[in-house]
Subunit: 209 residues, 2 copies
């Protein structure tokens, strides 16, 4: 995103971050060196974003990577008048524009809070500086990227399935906790089906339980 | 894949690798340290795979990461009797099962040569050992994964578009060199449209030039 909006406009930045949830996620992958931990503490801010507010708008520059402490977020793109949900994610996940990690160009996608969110935020400039100054941070990043890349492949796979039941089965397999939390219209958009089709498939699945 | 097939069965492994094309790709991202270069020379084999042969079959274990020196390769999954092409890639690209990089579980996807291919191959075990022994290799891997992850997002985006013309326009934008090289049936499958629809859209696009 371009600039953090001023307090009161739906997003607030403060400088008293509790980064424990992020450290827990990283430690589970690879030991976080004291230098990396101290860099994170120094360069992470907290942000609160209200439901429905945008974290990133297409055409603007993505300047941050976020860690979701609480809440749910979706990515979407536009095709004509339609918006297409490309991912939905919740607590303990990182969120940014993957295209902006390598090169600064205007974002092609939008990122929106689906619930009131508590976030940790770091600028992409600070992230790059960390990679350069603290080479061991690249090990963590490599492991995180392997996970997120595999998730992107799973999303591409679900998107390519043609039968609504197969799509919903794959969704439950990978995203079960979202199925009773996220408004159905976003799940339907993510799965590339109408709300009516999704409701019909869900009824079929619940009657099988 | 499980085991390299013996010579004569369509795939041949040898121990005299010229890894220059791979080094060129890596050097363009980040300086390759002498230790990494020497590790690669020691642990890379060459493989030749004939058109239509499988590099990986679903249900088997992916044991290698490949670099395509010459040729074209596709990934596909099955939905019932149908096969769905999930990516198509050519020279100077790496190919593996992304799901196997982190955990050894049977592959869910298939990888097939679309042309006679010359490959460089390294086992995933040797790749992991390199990450551990030569931490600077994680910087290269992090940069490569950022690129491949962004590509996976682009593929997911194309798969979610609903209008055949938008899909083909995105395909040309990201994969123009493939459009006159890869058999149309695979491009149609990748774009989630029938061969007839693809031919109609291509005719429309070429008449606009």
């Amino acid at each position: 995103m371009n600039q953090p909006e001023p307090p009161g406009s739906g997003q607030e930045l403060s400088r008293i971050p509790d980064i424990t949830p992020l450290l827990n996620v990283l430690q589970a992958l690879y030991p976080v060196s004291p230098a990396v931990e101290s860099y994170l503490r120094e360069h992470i801010s907290t942000a609160s974003v209200r439901k429905r507010k945008m974290l990133l708008k297409e055409g603007t520059y993505c300047e941050h990577i976020y860690f979701i402490v609480k809440g749910a977020v979706r990515g979407f793109v536009r095709e004509g008048q339609r918006d297409i949900t490309t991912w939905i994610t919740v607590e303990n996940q990182l969120v940014s524009s993957i295209f902006s990690l390598r090169q600064r160009s205007p974002a092609v996608e939008n990122i929106q809070a689906l619930e009131n969110c508590d976030l940790l935020a770091m600028t992409l400039d600070d992230l790059q500086t960390m990679y350069e100054r603290l080479p061991e941070s690249n090990i963590l990043a490599r492991k995180l990227l392997e996970i997120y890349y595999a998730d992107a492949e799973k999303r591409a796979y679900i998107a390519r399935l043609t039968k609504a039941e197969n799509k919903y089965r794959s969704f439950l397999l990978h995203h079960d906790p979202l199925s009773n939390r996220i408004p159905l219209k976003y799940i339907a958009s993510y799965l590339g089906m109408t709300l009516e089709t999704l409701s019909r498939v869900r009824k079929k699945f619940s009657s099988k339980l």
